[in-house]
């Protein structure tokens, strides 16, 4: 099927099989490998992206379902090499160890802060519930989000 998807402001036209998941369009066809495949069962959140303003797991959406949509991935956060405040806070608070979950964590936290710029600790935890950090580095991830929320 012919689809047209805008990712991080660039429009891509591709011919894809309906069975292709959005995460594979991003990684394999568009070479945007920032979004990761962790569990591939909808649990881990490493593939989280924002589609038309809504945070979703891109392993549970077909690429054809993103036809006509605006997709945001971790590659679209920094502008001209300038990290966002949130990315900077992840750096400063050592909010990543192996880094595998980080793109998903950043997208979930970005979606949270757009919706609720001053979340409580509980709201931050609840917002990151769909993202698993296998290094169990949650404490510093929450500290990083808090640093931006308080700023």
């Amino acid at each position: 099927m012919e689809i047209s998807v805008t990712v991080n402001g660039t429009t891509y036209e591709r011919d894809v099989e309906p069975r292709k998941l959005l995460i594979h369009l991003l990684r394999d066809d568009l070479d945007l490998t920032g979004s990761h495949v962790g569990c591939d069962t909808g649990n881990c959140g490493a593939c989280s992206v924002i589609v038309d303003g809504t945070l979703l797991k891109s392993c549970m959406l077909l690429a054809v379902q993103a036809n006509g949509c605006a997709v945001e991935t971790v590659e679209g956060l920094a502008e001209d090499g300038e990290l966002t405040e949130l990315q900077q806070a992840f750096n400063e608070h050592h909010a990543l160890q192996c880094g595998y979950c980080t793109p998903g964590m950043l997208m979930s936290a970005t979606a949270l802060l757009r919706d609720n710029p001053s979340p409580s600790d509980d709201e931050i935890r609840k917002a990151l519930q769909g993202n698993i950090c296998r290094c169990t580095g949650y404490w510093n991830i929450i500290e990083a989000v808090k640093a931006v929320a308080d700023a």
């Binding site: 309906p18 797991k57 959406l61 917002a127 519930q129 769909g130």
Partner: protein, 265 residues
């Protein structure tokens, strides 16, 4: 994961969706996809065609009528329900939807998908039975029929919405004396056992995870619910998370908790 080859259609009307479903034996409706896409990865389901309902705004939305009845479109997401001012007319709906999985799943998963998949561990089948929801099913020629929730759930993954049919909306009568209790894997994970209760004179409790469909029990008061659950003679399945005996005991405890919560508000 590469899915098995599948055709994809995105109808522009409910009538067109029904025609596609009726014309293709191997077609399945795709709602939020938060269950279906995963079972397709596991090859536990292999539809030949997916009929995507995401282009049908008439299936999405929440209306509150003058008599307090809520009408919720089948494609309404959990997040829509959590955020809806209208849905607060029956507060338990938003409260339970807020505990399903996580933000990403709630943003995409739908009330219709939850009840139509009728996984016995889902939250909404027992809740719909407890609150006395009525399900509207559309079939060939857009003919609609209404089925009470307690007759909608027929078996594991099986509901009254048969081949070539679609659940279009759910009507929920006014009420506020409701409760829900669950023991889950992780904070908001899969239910090991759950119970939804509603008090309207007597107590109605629907138990999830203990049989193929929600089990409805009634009692005069929350104090009588435990005995009513024991009298139901449950023989729930055993699995890695709970033995049959343990799950039956959980059902009794959770039913009482849900009933007390319902009576207290």
């Amino acid at each position: 994961m590469l899915l098995r080859e599948v055709e994809y259609a995105k109808p522009g009307s409910v009538a067109e969706a029904l025609e596609l479903l009726a014309a293709n034996d191997g077609a399945r409706a795709l709602a939020g996809g938060q269950t279906l896409i995963n079972v397709m990865k596991a090859r536990a389901a292999s539809p030949d065609m997916l009929v995507d309902l995401n282009g049908l705004p008439e299936l999405r939305g929440i209306e509150l009528a003058g008599d307090g009845t809520l009408t919720i479109g089948a494609m309404t997401t959990y997040t829509d329900i959590v955020r809806s001012a209208e849905a607060r007319a029956r507060p338990i709906l938003g409260e339970v939807c807020a505990t399903i999985a996580d933000v990403q799943v709630r943003n995409r998963g739908t009330i219709g998908g939850n009840v139509c998949s009728n996984d016995p561990t889902n939250h909404l089948p027992p809740l719909m039975v407890a609150v006395g929801a009525r399900m509207t099913i559309a079939g060939a020629g857009m003919v609609e029929r209404e089925v009470p929730a307690e007759e909608f759930f027929l078996g594991v993954y099986l509901t009254a919405a048969g081949p070539g049919e679609l659940l279009t909306r759910i009507a929920i009568p006014a009420g506020k004396h409701d409760g829900f209790a669950a023991v889950t894997l992780g904070a908001d994970g899969t239910c090991i056992a759950n119970a939804a209760a509603s008090v309207n004179g007597s107590v109605r409790v629907a138990l999830g995870c203990v049989d193929a469909v929600p089990v409805l029990v009634a009692a005069d008061s929350p104090e009588g619910v435990g005995e009513a659950v024991r009298a139901a003679g449950l023989t729930p399945p055993s699995d890695i998370h709970a033995s049959s005996e343990y799950r039956a005991r959980l059902a009794e405890v959770l039913a009482t908790r849900a009933a007390r919560e319902a009576a207290a508000r």
